[in-house]
Amino acid sequence: MTADWIGRPAPRHGPYRDIESLIRATHDELGRVAFRCLGHRADAEDALQAAFVKVLRCWPKVAGLATSAQQHAYLVTVVTNETLQIRRQVHRRRELPAVDEAEPGWTPDFPGGYGQTAREHLRLVWQAISGLPNENREVVILFAAGYEYKEIAEMLGVAVSTVRSHVSSARKRLLRGFPDDREEGLG
């Protein structure tokens, strides 16, 4: 069911030395991650390509990582960050996206209400997520994409307990309110 990530062949050990073989090896799984995050074919493709362009620009750093697993984890982080960018662009481009368009698979049980209100709430939720500290953010984006702790841990090459603590600290931060409230000293 959620076999998007688990079940891929065991990562080879040495790092990829050239960007083309890295792209060929990771393209499909990162495409699936981008789609899980965004739910839109075109948007996911944009995020995917933007992520690889970013990797190209910092190639010495990526090539310098010790194992291919670390390169994978780094790429997942880049992809999740790009999906946030795309989300921002989508909100700008589609002035008033239907909720089901902004969040495909939308069902009326969204806790934020209906129609216009839900749409605005959803935007605020994503705004709050992009305001999270880096280390929380990527984990939360993957969690919001429906991945389980175990899957996220495997993707990022960290312990399951680390993922759990990031999600729970992010949840606390998010519960504290949207960024607008935070400035009024609610902390």
Binding site: H27, D28, G39, R41, L56, P104, G105, H121, V125, A145
Partner: protein, 188 residues
């Protein structure tokens, strides 16, 4: 029921998680050749831009415009005392960077964006990153920082000379360093 319930982002997280799960296994195929084409195109464009940048850097009038009169700081302060940091006293990259940071404070602690504006072509983050390291930045960047602090030609010359000396010393062993140290120590 029609009243929208105030959503908290924390609740929404669970909701998004459920939504995301439904997308499992529905991802379309993405064309890897298309991605490779795009990445190669960017690579070519970057190479072009870099070549153009090199040309600009070696042209007689580099990126930076000379500081205007308003930008320059006063040479003396406190009845003729001048606390201007002296780059020529630095013998290592770390010392040089410390002097550069002092120089920025001395020149009135301009904001990074203000400095970037004065250089007319170097971004504030580049300046910030260069100055918060203890390794020697490129000469071009050092000159940009001095210009960004409103430095005059004399400052530029001194910082450039200090940079060159430290850069050469990196491989050249101790001789010049000791020489510079003695020179500074010879205060009668």
């Amino acid at each position: 029921m029609n009243e929208p319930t105030p959503v908290r982002a924390g609740d929404a997280l669970e909701w998004l998680h459920e939504q995301g799960k439904r997308r499992a296994g529905t991802a379309p195929e993405f064309d890897v050749e298309e991605t490779l084409r795009k990445v190669r195109a960017v690579q070519d464009a970057d190479a072009h831009a870099l070549a153009a940048g090199r040309l600009a850097a070696s042209s007689p009038q580099p990126l930076f415009r000379p500081p205007t009169r308003d930008d320059t700081v006063s040479r003396t302060s406190l009845r003729g005392h001048d606390f201007e940091p002296n780059p020529l006293a630095a013998t290592t990259a770390a010392e040089f960077m410390a002097v550069l940071r002092d120089y920025r404070v001395w020149s009135g602690d301009p904001s990074w964006r203000e400095m970037a504006r004065r250089t007319g072509g170097v971004s504030h983050s580049t300046l910030y990153n260069a100055m918060n390291r203890d390794t020697l930045p490129s000469l071009r960047l050092v000159r940009a920082i001095v210009v960004g602090c409103g430095g005059n030609d004399n400052d530029l010359q001194e910082f450039s000379a200090a940079w060159q000396r430290i850069q050469e010393n990196r491989e050249g062993g101790f001789r010049l360093v000791r020489h510079a140290g003695e020179h500074i120590g010879q205060t009668p």
